[in-house]
Amino acid sequence: MKKVLMGDHAVSHAAMLSRVQVISAYPITPQTYVVEELAEACRDGRLKAKFVMVESEHSAMACIIGACAAGSRAFTATSSHGLALMHEMLHWASGARLPVVMANCNRALGPPWNILCDHSDSMSQRDTGWIQFYVESNQEALDTVIQAYRIAEKVLLPVMVNLDGFFLTHTAEVVDVPDQDQVDAYLPPFSLPYKLDVEDPHSFGAICLDDNFMALKHDMQAAMDLARDAALEADEAFAEIFGRKYGLLEPYRMDHADTVLVTNGTITGTAREVVDDLRRRGVSVGLLKVRMLRPFPFAPVRSLLGDRERIAVIDRSVSYGLAGGLACEIRSALYGHDHGRPRVFGYIAGLGGKDVVPSDIEEIVNRTLTYEQPPRDDIWIGAGT
């Protein structure tokens, strides 16, 4: 059924449709509507789940880890400093191989205080063993949360679905909300192979030193490798039932494009417009949206970008002292492989909610076409420098 939903509510609808059993959260702007709607749904019987508002995000993550370890499908949502506070528990969820799903409403980190969108919160958590998606629309947010449970439960790793704060979370769009029967067919009831079960007791989280620790970490990396295929499978199966499909990456007008823009999140929508406009004016530019950031889709990135001349990556966060995170990942994917050597231009834009408007993206394309070589690894747009 078509509904007009804000991104936050698209996410809560997805959690309901996924029949989550335990929800634990702590309020933070711009995530609050996600959990308020879920609290409401638990009240009016739309969702049979236990909802607990705990005393911090660290506790929220710990709580859903406990629920999942007991075999329940568990969910939380957070943002920014909340995600940063969860850091320890993020490692714990992935290390314990618990397939929990979390929505993160991307927001800048302070100081100075800022509640608006950028990706510094989730980009800081890339090494925690979580699968990460970045979505472009409210429809994609809803669909990705449902897909996330299928992927997570297949490879036993947690999934973080990132949606841009305010640009998606607080903006209403038409969203096709799937029928419960169809989602039930897509997402069977959750069953965890190893769980806390008094009938079949196990010890979890026990100490494991130099004997097995590394082997278990290697297993996690192997599960990440499987996650790419699991995500493709989840996407294909989703398309069969619901008719929508996203891929790990989404190429847009990349035929014969010498220059390719690389984006994630909502900047992609603006970039599509600019690419259409530039194509009309005869500039051979294409666009690649990176939907899945962890595991990083190395092979398709190589085959899609390897023989281009110039790549312009737009990052909505910075790794201080290095450059934009996405630009670095694209560079590392392309280096040392058997193809041409595109010049990768890394741009930093849209920090702390700064709008990235079509003229900014046009400037990025112009600069990319004008520079002989990248003047530095991070080129800042809109910092007033």
Partner: protein, 303 residues
């Protein structure tokens, strides 16, 4: 229909500055506020203005120059207080006002350091810090504005939301009991514990001034209306109605056992000064027990 839109004036920094210069100082307590930051962001009927005024009045009464005072706040509507005061203030991360202020109190024991924050900040995400600072008896004046919910994020249930109260995350009524803050502060070791509502501004000013005379961890709870987040879902009416509610419900009982001061929805609220006792603060103990011994040991070795 034809609409007449007001003509947009380009922003004139000079005129703005002039306006601020001329407007600032009209109120006798303006000296404590940052020029240009008022009007504040709080909703009409919010109790935070009363709490801030009471603090400023207390400074005024004690004749403390602002450069001997510092305010540390956490996150939420109360956290904004740090930004309005024209003194050294720090708006820290959620829950961390007390550990931040502890560092400040150890580095600058000469300052009057006040932690001004809300119930959610001090007792949920920062609850652990609160009980340990009280146990240690760090010389901090904590003013906790309690409005029974997370106001800034839209009225979710928090650590003080009374059982059965409605919020945006407890639409059927809260299944958890709230903290009795004076009891918790007392049990954790605070040397001075008081509670007033914003209907008791004089008593509040008196308590804040009195707490400045105590050396150690003091705790003052200020019950404040939040007509938006708490008043509305619980049918307490607008800000004024909520003030009336606190007038009707509060019962002054100085010296009451904080254990009896639990707050329930639509039930009486005990207010007053509950605890006022003496015990050595953290620095005094540290100087006597650690520094003195270390120096004695040094002398012993030298001899």
């Amino acid at each position: 229909m034809k609409r007449h839109l007001r003509e947009l004036q380009p922003f004139n920094k000079e005129a703005e500055d002039k306006h601020i210069r001329e407007g600032h100082g009209l109120h006798p307590l303006d000296a404590y506020l940052k020029p240009g930051r008022i009007p504040h962001i709080w909703c009409p009927g919010c109790g935070l203005g009363v709490a801030l005024t009471a603090y400023i009045e207390a400074l005024h009464r004690k004749k403390f120059p602002v450069d001997q005072c510092s305010v540390v706040s956490g996150i939420g509507c109360t956290g904004r207080i740090a930004g309005y005061l024209d003194m050294d203030t720090y708006h820290t991360t959620h829950g961390r006002a007390i550990p931040f202020a502890t560092g400040l109190a150890l580095a600058r024991p000469d300052l009057h350091i006040t932690v001004f924050s809300g119930d959610g900040d001090l007792f949920a995400i920062g609850g652990n810090h609160m009980i340990h600072a009280a146990r240690r008896n760090v010389n901090l004046k904590v003013i906790c504005v309690n409005n029974f919910n997370y106001g800034m994020t839209g009225g979710q249930a928090g650590p003080t939301t009374p059982i059965d109260a409605k919020t945006s995350t407890t639409p059927m009524g809260n299944a958890e009991p709230g903290f009795n803050l004076p009891h918790l502060a007392h049990a954790s070791g605070a040397i001075y514990v008081a509670r007033w509502t914003t209907f008791h501004p004089r008593q509040l000013v008196h308590s804040i001034s009195e707490s400045f005379d105590r050396k150690g961890f003091t705790f003052i709870e200020v019950i404040a209306p939040c007509p938006i987040g708490y008043g509305r879902p619980n049918k307490l009416g607008d800000g004024l109605e909520e003030m009336r509610y606190y007038r009707e419900m509060s019962e002054v009982r100085n010296g009451a056992d904080p254990g009896t001061a639990e707050i329930r929805l639509r039930d009486k609220i005990l207010v007053g000064k509950f605890v006022d006792k003496e015990r050595p603060d953290f620095l005094e103990n540290y100087n006597n027990l650690v520094i003195a011994k270390a120096q004695a040991g040094k002398k012993g070795r030298a001899a």
